[in-house]
Amino acid sequence: MPIQDLTFAIVGSGGDGVVVLGDFMAQAAAREGLHCMKVEAYGPQIRGGESSCTVRISAVPIFAQGDRVDVMIAFNWADFGRFKSEIVASANAVVLYEADDETPREEVEPHLGTSEGSRWIPVPFTRLAKESAGTALAKNIVTLGICSELFGLPREGLLQAVTKKFSTKKAGVLEANVRGFETGEVWAKEYSARVADKHLEFSRGEPMLLMSGNELSAVAALHAGCRFFAGYPITPSSEVLQFLSEWMPRVGGHLVQTEDELAAIGAVIGASFAGVKAMTATSGPGLALMTEMLGLAAMAEVPAVIIDVQRGGPSTGLPTKSEQADLWQALFGSHGDAPRVVLAPADVEDCFHTTVAAFNIAEETQLPVIVLSDQFIAQRKESLSMLTLDHEVIGRQVPTAGELADYKRYRDTKTGISAMTWPGMKGGEYQTNGLEHDEAGRPSSMHLVHEKMNAKRYRKLRQVRDKYSFFRTYGPENADLGIVCWGSAKGPVKEAVLRANGRGEKVSAFVPQMLYPFPNHDFRHYLRGVRDVIIFELSYSAQFYKYLRTFEELPDGHTFLFKRSGGKNLTVGEVEDKIQKVLEIGALRREVLV
């Protein structure tokens, strides 16, 4: 029976072409209008070394990386060793492995998780490549042919991808690779019947975009009117800097790669002070360096957007892996009382909306706004429909003539927001300060001025909470079990919740996309409708759970926690296991009560 949703994992060494193989699969799928999600993982080597790529392709919408792989492609079992706790196959998976690799199946199988229903097919990848294309380098192209034949991947798209890649190479290269592809197809024919249950069934749709969260954040910044970017390279956020280095000048803006993160946030504040929407992007260690000037932006009331793509920490930590443990740093990292807004995209598409919203909020309230993304969202590639990618843009607020007469930069108003001029505006000149200051911006160290101005600056958050209350809910309004999570944990949680609902289980989820100020009222309302609660997060010290408890009593005896370190993305299986356990506890408890 054909299938609508297939997950591939590919493992190999540098030179095996793992990344190109995954990329071609994803691009060919997106071109056919299929849904897909591609995640790459590497060893610590700068070049070469082991790498893996998982590609999930589906005819129906998907929300998570497939945690059980349907098709495992191993060019080399030694390379699988590094990923063995991260790549788990379904029990009846198809395993295509290098025929020359003599590693016994018994050594691999316990780690891979396959059982009797699985089909292990030795493939002479290297021999087929050499015979057809004259080089072992073509083994990924041979594999494309095999996958096209066995699993129904779109043949025409894959061949066009091959043509595009090799048509500029010297004579004969393209022909050799096409031969490689066709050789793979022919070789695979005899296995087609054995793996017919893994044949993808789909009908062609409109082509989709294929983008990472970082790329989408960068495009969103341009959409929002950002015309200044300063940044310092840091994994896993550098794609934002790289993309904008090409596109910022094209839209007439400016970009500076600064000497460090201190200079990056300084330049962003300077540009914004000068009237130009500005942004930086970094990861946890960089945000730590920016924290002093985050306080400056809060104090001087300069709009600024900071994207923090979280990685494993502390210190250098796990630079290429995801974690959700910059939360407290983003929420509270500060000397003194420094108001800021923290938004959290929960998937790739969200990177667009939260980034534009971050600019809107920053401009309206003259606050620093942190977009707390993470490696899993930022670096995976997803297929997207262009139609969903639009968002209202709020421009720099221009002072009125009335506001400019007797102008006071920090006039204490009902909303806490005061008119902001910028250089070039005659009559709007002011001197701003990291020192505490009065309404005119004059330095003051008087207690009463400090109290009043703190109140003014914090008052601005009210408007943010009232106007923007970003959160999502999934599942029925009243549920036996409610899940609360944020950021990239949403994907597996949503998928698990929808599956549970499909089984008739009353499970729901609440996912805030605005973490500060928190949508308290909506959260309280949500809690009233659920009996038990599970908090899911990838933070060893349970930062999110503890944060929720600072403003909300979670139901005593009915609150459960799933937390662990990052380094491996949350899986649907982990969420489902916990859901089942808590549903059972709930059922037991009701038995006692009856």
């Binding site: 071109r31 341009l222 200044f228 000048p249 002070f273 070039g424 005659k426 002011y430």
Partner: protein
Amino acid sequence: MSATVGNVKFKPGDYKSTLNPVWCPGCGDFGVLNALYRAMSQLEIEPWNTVILSGIGCSSRLPGYVNTYGFNGVHGRALTLATGVKVARPELTVIAVGGDGDGLAIGGNHLIHTARRNLDVTYILMDNEIYGLTKGQVAPTTPTGDKTKSTFWGNPEPAVDPCELAISTGATWVGRGFSGDVKLTTQLIADAISHNGFSFLNVMSPCVTWRGDDQFKALKEILAYVPEDHDRSDRREAMKYTREKGVLTTGVLYEVKGPSFNDRLEEMKQQAMAGRSEPTTREILATFFPKF
């Protein structure tokens, strides 16, 4: 955005803000502030088209005393703020100011890289060879052996010459002034602001409170003016007037002409836009469709 008023001349006093300086009586920074007012008046600089930025320290209070747009930021980061302002708004006159601790210790890295980029801003470093605001600790320009509040047994470190540092890291205009000579300092500031590229002015600005009257006298004794026949475009020649024992050479030490960071960015932007109109979000997104 700005209404430029034709033929309006500004007197030095027109640049004064309503704030009174917090500096100690006799502080060298008063001389620098007066020189700045005069230089701005000479150049007929419009306050609303000018931004003065600083870090933290006694001298970093200066932006508050000038009625242009001003930004008293955090310690050591004046040049980072200035980078954002000048890159985003190249048409503005941008001046960064600060002290020796702010610019050479905590902010030293930014000085190096801002000079290297040749960002078109003027940086006035008021040098009193001490941390004044924190009350008398050793600074990167404090002479070796000096006893300060944090060098009980004497300063074990050699001092840095800010001008030597600026020349060697790529500043295209480097000068040294003395706050006791307002006429000279006025001319140097005016010259520095007029220069296209990174202009670095080290003004010796004595601290009467933590270095005493002796510093002023000692500085006066060793001051010399750069010879008239000095070839300021010659880097090696310029280096001769740095770090000379017993002599402190004032004047323009180094000046070369060439494209500033802003010129290069502008050129790149023209190349990137190539006469086309700004691409729309849709057009940018469309580049992410599978490319075959």
